[in-house]
C-alpha cells in the first residue's frame, strides 16, 4: 500500500479530531449528563479479534478521555498480535502513516518477536525506525521498541538512531537505551551498558549524549567504555561533562582508582558549578568515608561549593555502606535546610 491510502487515513483521523473538538468537553470520569441514551445498558458481545476490527476500534478510541480505555486498546492489540495473521499486521503497519496508529502496530509486531515468533517482525519495525521519511513515524516506531529486547536484536540500530537528523528520534532512542538498561536489564548487564555508552559517544547531539550517560548504571561497564566516559570529561558541553562525571562515580571496582584520579584532576580546572557538583558527588561515591580528606582539600577551590562539600562530608561521616543509603541521607539533609 502507499502513502496515497495513508493520506485517507490521515483525513479520517483529522475528521475524527475535529468532531471531538466540536463535542463539549466532558470529564474523564463521567459522561455528560446530556447523554440520556447512556442510561441504556450497552449490548456487549464478545468475539474473536481481527486486525481491521482492532484498528477501527483503536482509531475511534484515540479520542476517548478515558486513559483506562486507551490503555486497554493498546494492550489488546499487543496481546492479540500473536494470534493475528502476520501478513495482515505487517500490511497494516506498512500502510499506516498516523504516528499513533503506527506505534500501536509496531508494538504488536515487536510483541510477536518478543514472544518467540518470527524475528523479522521486529526487524521490520527497526527498518522503518531507521528509514521512514517521516520523522514522527520514525520516533513512533522507536517508542514501540521500548522495554523490549530490541537492544540485543537490532545490531547497530541505536548507534544509527542517535545520529538521526530529527532531534525527536534521537531523544526517543536515548530514552529507550536508558529505560531498557534500567528496566529490562536491571542496570547490571555489561553488554547493554556498553551498547548505550557506544551510542552516546556516537551521537553529535550533546543533549542526547548527556541524557544517556547521565542516567546509566555503570557498575558493569567495560574498561573500554570507562575510557570513553573519561574522554567525555573533555567535552565542550558542560551537560556532557556533568553526565560523564556522574557516570564515572558508579564504575566497577577495577576502574575506581582511575576514575577518581580523572575526576580529581579535572575539578580545579572546571569552571561550571553543575559539573563541579557532579564531580563532588562521584568523588564521594568512589571513596565513601575515605573521600572525606579529598573533599576537605577541595573545599577552598570554589567557596560557593563549600556548603555542598560540607553536606557530603557530614553524610559520609555517618559511615553508611551503601550508596543508596548515603544518597537518601543527603537528600534528607537538603530538605532539612
Amino acid at each position: 500500500m502507499t502513502r496515497h491510502f495513508l493520506s485517507l487515513d490521515r483525513i479520517s483521523t483529522l475528521a475524527l479530531t475535529l468532531c471531538l473538538l466540536a463535542t463539549p468537553l466532558a470529564s474523564a470520569a463521567e459522561p455528560t449528563s446530556s447523554a440520556s441514551a447512556s442510561d441504556e445498558p450497552p449490548t456487549l458481545k464478545g468475539g474473536s479479534c481481527s486486525v481491521q476490527g482492532l484498528m477501527d476500534q483503536i482509531r475511534r478510541g484515540l479520542g476517548s478521555k478515558s486513559e483506562a480505555y486507551r490503555l486497554y486498546l493498546r494492550t489488546l492489540l499487543r496481546e492479540s498480535a500473536v494470534t493475528l495473521p502476520l501478513h495482515e499486521l505487517q500490511a497494516a503497519f506498512e500502510r499506516e502513516y498516523d504516528p499513533v496508529m503506527a506505534e500501536h502496530l509496531a508494538a504488536a509486531l515487536v510483541a510477536r518477536t518478543e514472544r518467540g515468533l518470527e524475528p523479522e517482525a521486529m526487524a521490520r519495525v527497526a527498518q522503518r525506525a531507521l528509514e521512514d521519511r517521516d520523522p514522527s513515524i520514525r520516533a513512533a516506531t522507536v517508542r514501540a521498541m521500548r522495554l523490549t529486547g530490541a537492544l540485543e536484536r537490532t545490531g547497530d540500530m541505536y548507534e544509527r538512531l542517535v545520529r538521526d537528523p530529527s532531534p525527536e528520534v534521537r531523544r526517543e532512542a536515548a530514552t529507550n537505551l536508558v529505560e531498557d538498561n534500567l528496566k529490562v536489564y536491571g542496570g547490571r548487564h555489561g553488554p547493554a551498558v556498553d551498547a548505550a555508552v557506544t551510542a552516546a559517544v556516537a551521537s553529535s547531539d550533546s543533549k542526547v549524549t548527556a541524557q544517556i550517560v547521565g542516567q546509566l548504571m555503570t557498575g558493569e561497564v567495560s574498561a573500554e567504555s570507562a575510557r570513553k566516559l573519561e574522554q567525555l570529561l573533555r567535552s565542550d558541553s558542560a551537560e556532557v561533562r556533568a553526565a560523564a562525571s556522574s557516570a564515572l562515580g558508579g564504575v566497577p571496582a577495577a576502574e575506581m582508582t582511575r576514575a577518581r584520579e580523572a575526576l580529581l584532576g579535572m575539578y580545579r580546572g572546571e569552571q561550571d558549578p553543575t559539573v563541579r557538583k557532579a564531580i563532588l558527588q562521584s568523588i564521594a561515591r568512589l571513596g565513601f568515608s575515605g573521600a572525606v580528606p579529598e573533599l576537605q582539600r577541595l573545599r577552598g577551590v570554589d567557596p560557593s561549593l563549600a556548603p555542598e562539600i560540607d553536606a557530603w562530608i557530614r553524610v559520609l561521616e555517618m559511615d553508611l555502606q551503601e550508596w543508596s543509603l548515603i544518597l537518601r541521607e543527603k537528600q534528607r539533609l537538603q530538605q532539612a535546610r
Binding site: 480505555y69 536491571g186 547490571r188 555502606q321 550508596w323
Partner: protein, 407 residues
Amino acid sequence: MTPESLHRSTSPAKSPSRQRLWLGAIALGAVALLIGVALIGSDSPEAQPKGGAAAAAPGTRQGGPSGNGTATGLAGQGGAEQPREKGPRFTATTCWEGLEHFNEAVTLETFRAWAAPLLAARDPHVREYLRGRLAELIGNDEGRALEVLGWAKEAPPTEFKLLMGGLRQSKAIVLPRVGARLTELGLDESIEIERRAGFLDGLQHLPQLEPGALERLTRFARDPASGEAGWITTRSIGRVMKEDLTRTGNARPYLDKLFTIGTESPDEPVRYLALEMEMHADAPLDAQATERLARILATEGSEHIREVAAHDLSLAQDKARGLEIYAKAFEAEKDLCVRWALFRFAARAAGKAALPVMANMAITDPRFQGNYQDIARLYASGVVDFDRIWFGLPDQNPHGCLDKHDD
C-alpha cells in the same frame, strides 16, 4: 505456588545480597498463601511484574512487556497464519462489541450492572480495563470511594476484587476517611476473614497510619486467629512505613510494631514478613530496635527469620554494638546459611571495620576462610561500598543457601 504469591512475598530487589532472603520469603509466603485469600485480587495489576529495574535480578534480563502465552487457543480467524508447529501456543483474545459505548456512557451509578456481563466473561484484559475505569469514576472523591467500599462489603468475591482493585487504583485511596473506613472494615469481626484481608490490603497505599490505627492493626496482625489476613496487615504496615520513612524520615513507630509482630506472632510467615519489611525500607535502627534484633537472633527458632534479622541488623546506627551482636550470634549459631548471613551482613553494617570480626568468624568456622579472603582482598584493593564488594565476589552463593531455599 502462584505468581501472585511471588508478588505477595517479595518486594523489589535492591541488592543481590538479598536474593536469598527473598527466596526464603517466597517459601514462607507460599505457606501463608496455602490458607488462601480468594478476595485479594489474584488478577490485580499489582500481582503482575512491572518490568521495573528493581524487579530484575541483576545481570539478567526480564522478558518484554508481554509474557508468554500459555494456554490453548491457536490462531485468530480468517486464514490466520498458524504458529510454527513446535512454537509457542497462545490464548486468543476477545474483542468486545459495545465496549466503546460502555466506556463513554458508564457512570458510577450504572457501573456495577453494566460491568457484570464483562466480569462474568473472565477476560483478564477487560477486567484490567474495568478496574482502571472504575478508578477514573471514583477519582479523588471521598464520597464515591466510600460508596464503593459499601458495595464491596456485600459484593460476591469476583466483584469484590474488581471493586477493591478500582479503589486501590483511584486517587481517593489516600484520603483519610477512606483509610479510616478501610481499617474499620478490615477489623470488623462480623465480616468474613477473607474479605477483611481484602480491605486490609488496601491500607498499604496510605501515606501514614495514625497511632491508634497502627496499634489496632498490630494487635490484629499478631493474633493467631488472623491467619492470612494478619500476613496482609503486616505487609500493609511495612509498606506504609516505607512511604512514611521516605516522606518524613521517621520509621520508628512502625518499626516498633513490626518488631512486636516479628517477635510475638505464632505464625512463622507473619514473623518473617514483619522483619522482612524493615529490609525493604532500610530503616535505620536505634539502640532499642538493635537490642530487639539481638534477642530475636538469640531466641528465634526459625533459621529463615534469624537470617532476615541478620540483614536488618546491618542498619544499626551503633555499628560497634551491631558488630558485637553479629559476633555473639555467629558463635551461638549452628545453621550454615544463617552464619553466612551474619558473616556478610557484618560487612554491610560496618564495612572494612567489620574485617576483624569476620576474621574471627572464619577462625570459628573455617568454611568461611575463603569468603573472608575474598572480601578482605576487595577492601584492600580500594573498594569501599557493600554493593561493589558483593558484585566483586567470585561466587554469590558459596554455601548453596539459595539452592536450599529453592527446595
